[in-house]
Symmetry: D2
Subunit: 363 residues, 4 copies
């Protein structure tokens, strides 16, 4: 072995090169990349305009057939421009829009990534989740948890468009993807339409003869008329300083999030409501159900209107504004918070300067 100080024969550069050929990596060359003082992410706050997204998915509807000679799913992923590969909207979540034309079916399959659907437009379609048709109407939330069979049927007479959010980037990064097609196309119906809604939809009165043991909510459907009524009921309350009247969709058997990997929320911002800023380590997909406003992210204003979808990266300051004097604004969102809580990685922090609101850099 060679002494360190006076050696020319065996220097550190050479050592580093050599060990790299031996599947060894000097930590001192990587530590600065890895151990950042605060989270580093390539995820950008980014907003997809509904006018554009709608036009594009309708174009896809003319170009891409569903089924054997086309696509299994007619979906455009909202790919975060900060991320190079794949279909990620944040590091854990994929948001996408999906179109099923009147008369079409998207055949049944299942996968270990979980998904939620939030319906944007159309009537008369349903998703068959583990044999149970879940009806789809604008504002409805439908769950297709990890490894549940699901196929889509549009028996109406207008195009059905919805927002998908999946935990695909998470499950891919964990190398945990399983996928299977239903052997015979569309899974037959084994239960009544909206059966789980009937059974479990009144979260405070549950059937005594059922004892679901799933890690996800056995309630698969959350209907819009109920959701919006609750928002209006609670609109008189102070609500959250950071989110206005924000409600968590819950598993009625636990009170917890609907899926082990994704939590869903609906929030109402009253006319001119401007929330305080905070940041947290969850990343979030927001979708605007109604209203005009903006979310200020690290000092930059993302202005939004109906149908728009935007991404909120990890650990960014953010606050919400309803720009209208008259109209309410409603945002639906999906967060990876349950992942971070389960792994003891969740943090949040209020913005304390300037009365709790960021000074805006741009508009």
């Amino acid at each position: 072995m060679v002494a360190r100080k006076d050696s020319a024969a065996f220097d550190i550069e050479r050592f580093q090169q050599e060990v790299r050929t031996e599947a060894l990596e000097p930590l001192w060359l990587q530590a600065a990349n890895v151990l950042s003082p605060e989270p580093v992410t390539h995820v950008q706050p980014y907003l997809w305009r509904w006018t554009l997204v709608r036009e594009r998915i309708l174009q896809a509807g003319t170009l891409v057939p569903l089924g054997k000679d086309g696509a299994d799913r007619r979906v455009l992923a909202l790919k975060n421009p900060g991320l190079r590969l794949g279909i990620a909207t944040t590091q854990t979540l994929t948001a996408a829009v999906q179109l099923v034309h009147a008369g079409e079916q998207a055949l049944s399959h299942r996968h270990s990534p979980a998904a939620i659907r939030f319906i944007i437009e159309g009537q008369g379609a349903w998703t068959v989740v583990d044999g149970q048709p879940c009806s789809m109407a604008p504002g409805d939330l439908i769950l297709t948890p990890n490894w549940t069979w699901h196929g889509h049927v549009n028996a109406g007479n207008s195009p059905m468009i919805w927002l998908d959010v999946l935990d695909v980037p998470l499950v891919v990064s964990l190398n945990q993807v399983f996928y299977e097609e239903y052997p015979s196309g569309l899974q037959p119906t084994e239960r009544a339409h909206d059966d789980s809604l009937l059974r479990y939809g009144a979260g405070t009165l549950l059937p005594t003869w059922e004892h679901p043991r799933t890690a996800y909510s056995p309630l698969f459907s959350y209907k819009w008329e109920h959701t919006v009524a609750r928002l209006h009921d609670l609109a008189q309350m102070d609500g959250s300083p950071y989110d206005g009247v924000a409600l968590s969709y819950t598993n009625p058997f636990t009170g917890g999030p609907v899926l082990p990997t994704m939590a869903c929320y609906i929030q109402l911002l009253r006319p001119r409501e401007h929330t305080r800023a905070h940041r947290h380590t969850a990343s979030v997909i927001y979708h605007v159900v109604r209203g005009q406003g903006a979310t200020i992210v690290n000092g930059t204003r993302l202005a939004w209107g109906p149908g728009d979808t935007f991404s909120l990266p990890t650990w960014v300051w953010h606050e919400h504004v309803n720009d209208s004097d008259i109209e309410e604004a409603i945002l639906f969102s999906v967060s990876d918070m349950p992942v971070l809580r389960a792994l003891d990685l969740y943090r949040e922090e209020p913005y304390v300067l300037n009365g709790g609101r960021q000074s805006e850099c741009t508009g």
Copy 2:
């Protein structure tokens, strides 16, 4: 809008190009990449020979000083040859070897990735975890959970070498790294040596005046003499068909894994013990404490001896063999199983053909 069938002016290729400039990605171009029937991983089963690793970390000990003019930590990561970047040994775990020479200190810092240390050689050193010195001797397990301060002191007179396992790839992929250096170098000692061992080490008799509420085990030290005694005590039992006499290091306040992201195990294979094969979705780092044997991974034999470390990817068939007629073999291991269980992604499956053992492809 252009009709699909007869249009030449607006074809699907052009559509796909165009939407990609608009942060939209056609799912049908990605689905086959993403939705694999079974987990796809670039992680390879790979074994690092102790003779090589030891030689290289001792060379690093002569080349790389610790501290201001050198490295914060003198560490060689066991970088999986299947992964291009970074310091990952599996998609969630980093294994590494660390050396602290007699008289050296590695100053205190903390980070959101959690770590464990399993001591390989040396005497007279300790790690200060949140003010508590944890003594280090071969075979000891020491925890430095998420965001606990930790620094290392070698007050002995020989080099101290240990195995580190961290959840760095997991925490990096979740964009959740926080890192902070202790303001004044080494954190002062605030508690007695091995204080948590004194308080909580007898897992069945716990102090009534303490109510730890951490998500991780408040017991930071698991000493080898106790561990090996337990293995020998239990060696008369059948044990696990897949792992022999395998014990889980537990949090005495929950009976669960020591950390929310990593579970640690010690397992003894009796002379000539050859376990049955199974596969699971956890990825694992194994380190050979003693003995000669092999782990057969998807039909390929990874032969191992004392000090060797190897990686087990997700969802591979594996079985363990002690090749000796006389000597026991002992493997320490770290698994990401708690992550997968928390996210409802854990699966396991026994190998049912051929009496539960793979036919070996290679030796």
Copy 3:
């Protein structure tokens, strides 16, 4: 000491007498009393007719004033005829009827026994629970958990009568009664009417800004129109073989029972529905909301009609019958099941002979 066999000087009778003066009791004299093969109870299956109970509580209404010169509460307990002392309906539960006349108040107090109210008749009254007025109308369920302040106000113009169920016998037998009167009479209103219903009443959409940590449901009110609608919604389902369409009132934050000591249920028996028999170790108070039928208890028929209340002892075979060809029957019930589950004492067993139904002894 004296040898056993041949001694006349010191016999066992004398020994037994002597040790009893020393606070020692020979177990062999008590074992047969204590260790019964199956539960022994003095609780009888007993039915209180509503016509009688109503007449009597109205008479109490003319005889017993509320307040300083009268009673704190105008309540008649349904005392089980099998129990000698006190106000117990089962060994753990007290059922009672309470009357508050128009214009009267029952002042605020709190106690460690928990209570529920199920409203029988009247309009325009409310109970103030920890500062929150909970409105009362027939069929409503109101909780006043352990140590919550509660007072009753009848601001309507008719008598208000309800069923109280408390865990008084349980808490008394555990020697755990605490009791306190509100210093200034009726606790002032600090929240809006039915505030908890507004906040938590939609069990599947919960406010994100609230994190109740109580061991009891923070939802204090369950309104009849919602309850009965759910029963009708679910009436098309098979339901429970033992209870028909039986729903559990739940804590929306846990999915569990409303109180740690009492679970509440509502069940609908369809015309001519006759359930199978089973037995369990819970004791139950049943109250008939509507319909005509019977519950067969250990072969004896307890015939019931609207307003009747009856007790079901521990470990008795029982099945329910709706005697009407046309009308539904609805039973409200309160069970000590959560106590037994928490203490690992709950058992249940189906009746397997005779097609699952007892042969009736009497009518």
Copy 4:
């Protein structure tokens, strides 16, 4: 109906008499009995001297044979002098002493009341718990949980005497007693001696191949040499202000109490240690393992020495004193605290006057 004020014909006394014949009890006649400001108990603080108890159980050993012509168990219950009936030491717990002579067996049975044994003297005996012999030596704790078979065998050559603590009064008051004799006398041995100790005794290293799902600790034995070693190890710590160095025996799979109804503790009072006073709603059985001292209960001094057993009622102020300048004192205790916690009835309060110590009334 008769008006209240001017009626002589129908007065309240007559009403009260009449309704009592109808299984109705006016609450206003009972409320003062039931709703006490603080817990009322007939349980007295009482101490049983070991010299007396030992003499009496040995006399029983000469008078009362074990087995068919004698008693199932040769047990003297420490019956609280404040309680009229039965074998209760507190309202929930029965303490007793049991003797099995050399060569004797107490045949196997099981019951829904749970029991613990704390060995006082003798060697060479064991209890067979669900087929597993648990060895008995002074200071050992053995569990026989709810509905586990258990029989006792003294294969040594000296009398075996131990303290039993059962939750009999609790289970009786809940009307939940089930009891069954083992069909063929003593249950055969199905596992090795102290098998559970071997499997689970190292609470921080648990077998991966076992997943006990019992509500009680699957570890049935806690050996004295380990217990006392832990006390000495921790004797350097401050410990609890109320209890000195007090340790909870735990279920290694949960960190919680050993049984759902009873928690067991061991506590060491250092020479001249005099703890602070507090009170709590748990009732407790204390047994003196070694040392001379006193427990001051609501101002009255209960002086104790080795082998003495005493009862602590609910909600009494109490503090402990070791009277020796030289010797440690050790108390074993059993508490009904898990019951109260499960039912949300547990409270505790420190004594704040007089530096935290009661002024003593008597000695």
